[in-house]
């Protein structure tokens, strides 16, 4: 098993390099000179050239790329144009806020998603199932910003239970967590339900019933484990969509996390910062995928042995 995980880690190295390369190229083909963008239009050409040289922007692209990579490996993603600070430092400052938001959201979505999914599966095809699954589909179909605005309107403005924005107190994290967890709760619920229903058709469920287990025990000790396996993978894979959602959630609720940084970087055309945030989040996603694969192979005995 360790060998397989190692293999996966090795495969993610070229993937990561590819990610950096793509982002690097994409941001370099931006029309306009980065230094001009940084300093504004009315700056002496001499100054521009000097700064370009300092930043290594006069060198060929591939040299710039390798310089960037070699710095990045040492944890240096360059210096932000606007904030005049090390990008790594900025990201690490923002990171805990995003993590806190994402973890809270994940907990919300798992609890709500798993409970809803099981409940719907148990009540298969009756009115409760329909109601819950309709709710789940609504969860999947609602744009994140819409959930955010509706909840803000209801709970912050009308009922005044939670603050409109902010991130310091526990109560201020409630709305953002629900908003961010909403979509994945929907998809987890849908997946759990359909997995359970599929598993319940399996022969070994018939065996369990023939053994004399009551329906509840059949569900608990035979159906759930099998139905949850793919969901575990999905939860880790949701890191990607969580981060996408975090971009919007953080902007609406004014949480200074990574998503906020990315949008700021775009608004202020701060190329190193944007580059850094995208690469950083991508590393998170790749790590998430790795965890998903490893977890699956630990949990599923069929795969465990093959490895």
């Amino acid at each position: 098993m360790a060998k397989n995980i190692l293999k996966r880690i090795l495969i993610s190295i070229p993937v990561l390099t590819g990610v950096v390369l793509i982002i690097f190229i994409m941001l370099r083909v931006v029309p306009g000179d980065p230094v001009t963008t940084m300093l504004g239009e009315h700056v002496n050409q001499m100054v521009i050239d000097k700064i370009s040289k300092e930043m290594g922007l006069d060198k060929p692209l591939y040299i710039q790329f390798f310089t960037y990579i070699s710095h990045a490996i040492r944890g240096d993603f360059g210096t932000s144009y606007r904030m005049n600070r090390n990008v790594t430092g900025i990201i690490l400052d923002a990171f805990p806020n995003t993590v806190r938001l994402a973890v809270c959201a994940a907990i919300v979505s798992w609890i709500v998603g798993i409970a809803t999914g099981i409940f719907a599966a148990v009540n298969k095809n009756n009115i409760l199932d329909r109601l819950f699954m309709g709710g789940a589909l609504l969860g999947v179909s609602m744009p994140v910003f819409m959930i955010a605005l509706v909840l803000q309107y209801l709970f912050a403005y009308k009922l005044k239970i939670f603050p409109v924005s902010g991130y310091e107190t526990v109560t201020s994290m409630v709305l953002p967590s629900i908003v961010l967890g909403w979509n994945s709760a929907g998809s987890i619920a849908r997946m759990i339900r359909s997995n359970i229903l599929e598993v319940m058709q399996e022969d070994y469920i018939r065996t369990a019933r023939a053994k004399g287990l009551l329906e509840f025990a059949v569900m608990r000790s035979h159906a759930l484990k099998n139905a949850m396996l793919p969901v575990v993978t999905m939860m880790a894979l949701q890191i990607s969509s969580m981060l996408s959602g975090a971009v919007i959630t953080e902007n609406i609720f004014g949480i200074p996390g990574i998503g906020r940084l990315a949008v700021n970087a775009i608004e202020t055309r701060d190329m190193p910062l944007l580059q850094g945030t995208v690469i950083f989040t991508t590393i998170l996603v790749i790590l998430g995928n790795l965890t998903a694969d490893s977890l699956y192979s630990i949990l599923d005995p069929r795969i465990r042995k093959e490895i």
């Binding site: 065996t207 053994k211 287990l213 484990k225 099998n226 949990l299």
Partner: protein, 335 residues
């Protein structure tokens, strides 16, 4: 006779587009204590449905519409869910056709067997584990202790079926239903498994319902045979009588389609046509359109169950005619 299970006039229907389609249409079956009873027929004739009715595990949209299943003085159709669950796996257990898919792939086999005994005999885990290992030894699983911790995919088909038998036998059931237990296995394993089942039942006095389409299996281990066709029992007799005094054309067709060793045959006999659709059953005898001897009455009226001898029942207008035919077919003792 001392019957452990008596099924009377059992009807199971599926509602399809508002109409009831009968998968079982009034069957009567008696299972004597400590005997092996075979149920044979083509696929789709209601064999497995009979088994699932006894287990109380008929899947929706199917349901039992009429009849009684009397097991040791209790009508299984009328008892509650919990009581039924106590009987399942305890007094009545079942072995399924597909050992590959009948075990949960993510639970250790030992644990799966243990579950049954803990449930029914309320013993402690270490005790249960000991019993499971004993049973594994009994059903011929080598290195029983090690196998306790194996996952199903690590075992061969034969071993898995032995695990299933162990699971079914661990609570010493009064009745064991085996639904084509050897169909998915190699022929060499098949004989071993059958012998094992027979031995275990003789030791513990368990009755077996052996569901199969293989007349060879019937000849080898069954004491009594029910032949089913399109949701009805068409003939039932002690095994010997069924083979030597075949009364129903369907049974004789089944027997004729067995290849016999050492006899020159140009072509193996096949029964023409297919099992009729249960939504579109013929008015008269259900076998009429496939029967070589069918007469007018066969297409218009439904034959009644007739007893030729005390223990030999047939449901056919023409069984007398078949007797002549029978003398032409010499069915050799099979295997």
């Amino acid at each position: 006779m001392d019957n452990i299970l008596t099924i009377r006039d059992l009807k199971v229907a599926f509602q399809v587009r508002g109409r009831d389609a009968y998968a079982l249409d009034g069957i009567n079956i008696d299972i004597p204590r400590g005997r092996i009873v075979g149920i044979v027929g083509e696929s789709g004739c209601g064999k497995s449905m009979t088994a699932m009715s006894i287990m109380g595990l008929i899947k929706k949209p199917g349901r039992i519409v009429a009849g009684s299943i009397d097991f040791c003085g209790r009508d299984l159709i009328k008892i509650g869910t919990k009581e039924y669950a106590d009987i399942r796996g305890g007094d009545i257990s079942m072995i399924f056709q597909e050992p590959m898919t009948s075990l949960n792939p993510v639970v250790k086999v030992g644990k799966q067997v243990m579950e049954a005994i803990i449930l029914h005999e309320h013993i402690s885990k270490p005790e249960a584990k000991q019993r499971v290992i004993e049973v594994f030894n009994e059903v011929g699983i080598p290195e029983a202790e090690k196998r306790f911790n194996s996952y199903p995919h690590e075992l061969s088909g034969g071993l898995r079926q032995r695990v299933m038998i162990g699971m079914a036998m661990i609570c010493k059931p009064k009745l064991l239903i085996a639904d084509e237990p050897t169909t998915a296995l190699d022929v060499t394993i098949e004989a071993q498994i059958l012998r094992l089942m027979k031995r275990l039942c003789e030791e513990s006095g368990t009755s077996i319902i052996m569901i199969t389409h293989n007349m060879g299996v019937v000849a080898e281990i069954c004491d009594y045979v029910y032949v089913m066709y399109a949701g009805r029992v068409v003939e039932s007799a002690p095994t010997k009588a069924l083979f030597s005094e075949t009364a129903h054309p369907y049974t004789s067709g089944l027997l004729k389609s067995i290849p016999t060793i050492g006899k020159r045959q140009n072509r193996l006999y096949t029964i023409k046509g297919n099992v009729p659709n249960i939504l579109n059953l013929p008015k008269g005898c259900r076998f009429a359109d496939r029967c070589d001897f069918a007469e007018e009455i066969c297409c218009s009226d439904r034959p009644k169950d007739e007893y030729i001898t005390d223990s030999h029942m047939v449901s056919c207008f023409l069984h007398k005619r078949i007797e002549d035919e029978r003398s032409c077919i010499k069915i050799k003792k099979y295997i």
